[in-house]
């Protein structure tokens, strides 16, 4: 059984440690905390994730045994992507080769995706964010996807890094937590 020792750290760190452990583990997780605040916050978080929580007092704190319920542990139902497929776009080029070809292929891929309808999640990271910010043609296709109800998540850290935060043309600025949940919750992930 995984043991998370969250003694000696202040909230919200015990909750983030618990979240990470629950996401990795298939079975029960034990969390050790040394104050009431952490005990109640961790217990609330575990409940919100569908876990059963058993609390026992220990010397200098509490031991919480978190047992995941039937459903896989992840975010609340209304935050789950509704769609089955997720495109993970981590570069502005499709494949490795001549840059010009890679970029053209990526634009074509997005155009075709926008033409084919359906619903899903598209995640843009690293140089992939340029497609949603700088590249007019790709951004137009991404806009169309969003218009059709696709969830389009653009990595905020990446936009910041490349200085593109103010030039985002399509999609929503997102964080690692949301991106990770979207990918984990998707039926299939297509990496590009």
């Amino acid at each position: 059984m995984d043991v998370v020792d969250a003694r000696g750290v202040a909230c919200p760190i015990p909750v983030t440690m618990t979240r990470n452990a629950l996401e990795k583990s298939q079975s029960a997780v034990v969390v050790l905390v040394d104050n009431n605040t952490a005990c109640e916050n961790v217990s609330r978080f575990a409940n919100s994730q569908g876990c059963e929580v058993e609390i026992s007092q220990r010397e200098g704190g509490f031991e919480l045994k978190l047992t995941p319920g039937e459903k896989p542990v992840e975010k609340k139902a209304d935050e789950k992507p509704t769609a089955d497929v997720a495109f993970l776009v981590t570069s502005d080029e499709l494949g490795q080769g001549e840059r010009e070809l890679g970029l053209r292929l990526m634009r074509m891929f997005l155009y075709t995706a926008a033409e084919s309808g359906g619903k899903g999640t598209a995640v843009f990271m690293n140089t992939g964010v340029r497609l949603a910010a700088e590249d007019e043609e790709a951004a137009a296709s991404i806009s169309r996807l969003a218009g059709q109800g696709w969830k389009v998540l653009v990595c905020g850290t990446c936009l910041d890094y490349y200085g593109l935060k103010d030039s985002l043309k399509a999609g929503t600025v997102s964080n690692m937590y949301e991106i990770q949940s979207a990918l984990v919750g998707a039926g299939s992930v297509v990496s590009l």
């Binding site: 909230c11 919200p12 109640e40 916050n41 600025v173 690692m176 949301e178």
Partner: protein, 302 residues
């Protein structure tokens, strides 16, 4: 006077000096927004007393490596709000520190006859709050990487809002009992008014304005330490009230709204005016004549 939001020094029969100071570590990632929030928060004590701010002094503790652009952005944010308040920054002091901190000492003036205090509430007054609750929960979630961007933005906008127009609207209608909702949460600050005025209160759960995302994040264990401490400090009677709404009522606020006790016949007109500058302003309950300091929360107005 004790338990007031700022120190008051009588200069003459119709003029008193009002002084306050507040500073804290960054609560949001954007340095300019942090500067604006810190200044709006420091000015808030002046507004809670119905005073007019005149001068402000910066208080800065910053690590050397951030002393360039980042500090400049924080200070510019602070100037923005002090300027909007009609006051001026006339100086300040900086020391080196590993964890950045920023705030201001603010001096204002007030006519003691019109000053708003925590001891002037009377039975039958409507309780009016001018901002939504939940900044502590959302700041905690931001640290944990669990707050969506829109949620953080709404909280930031609320924290940057000056309590100036709210204070002026209250003064214009002769309101005498007011405080600002900060570290002790709605319950803690309400409790101060009730104890100082020797009255009690009833609140309506359904009328409490909450920042978007606050209830959901409270359910996920994003409560700051202070919320638990505030809950220990003030006992309330709240049967059947949603746990997370109650949490938000105990949640420590940064640059929270004003909480005022308003004579019943002036409430509708006042609320209409308040909402022009404070869109989430609401009547959340009433002052009652029960045991001093007791607070009851009902699902809604009966």
């Amino acid at each position: 006077m004790s338990g007031e939001d700022a120190g008051v020094y009588l200069l003459s029969d119709d003029l008193a000096l009002v002084q306050t100071v507040d500073f804290f570590p960054p609560i949001v990632d954007d340095p300019k927004a942090f500067g604006r929030i810190a200044a709006a928060n420091a000015l808030s004590d002046i507004y809670a007393m119905g005073a007019r701010p005149l001068t402000a002094m910066n208080i800065v503790a910053f690590p050397k490596k951030l002393c360039g652009e980042v500090l400049e952005a924080v200070l510019l944010g602070g100037y923005d709000k002090v300027h909007e308040a009609g006051a001026v920054v006339i100086g300040g002091h900086t020391i080196e520190d590993d964890e950045p901190k920023y705030g201001l000492a603010v001096t204002g003036i007030v006519d003691p006859a019109r000053m708003m205090t925590v001891s002037a509430a009377s039975k039958g007054d409507a309780l009016v709050i001018t901002k939504a609750l939940g900044t502590g929960v959302i700041a905690t979630a931001l640290k944990a990487g669990m707050a969506a961007r829109e949620v953080v933005q709404a909280a930031t906008d609320s924290m940057m809002l000056l309590n100036r127009s709210a204070s002026e609207a209250f003064l214009a209608r002769g309101v005498r009992a007011c405080t600002d909702v900060t570290g002790f949460g709605l319950m803690g600050h309400l409790s101060e008014i009730l104890n100082a005025s020797e009255v009690s209160a009833t609140l309506w759960e359904g009328s409490i304005p909450l920042l978007p995302g606050a209830v959901e994040l409270a359910a996920q264990g994003m409560l700051p330490e202070g919320a638990y401490a505030n809950r220990e400090g003030v006992e309330v009677e709240a049967p059947g009230v949603t746990r997370e709404v109650l949490d938000c009522m105990y949640d420590p606020q940064t640059s929270g709204g004003l909480l005022a006790c308003v004579k019943g016949d002036r409430v509708d007109e006042l609320l209409a005016e308040l909402r022009k500058s404070c869109p989430r302003a609401a009547v959340i309950g009433e002052v009652t004549g029960g045991d001093t300091g007791s607070i009851k929360v009902l699902p809604g107005k009966e």
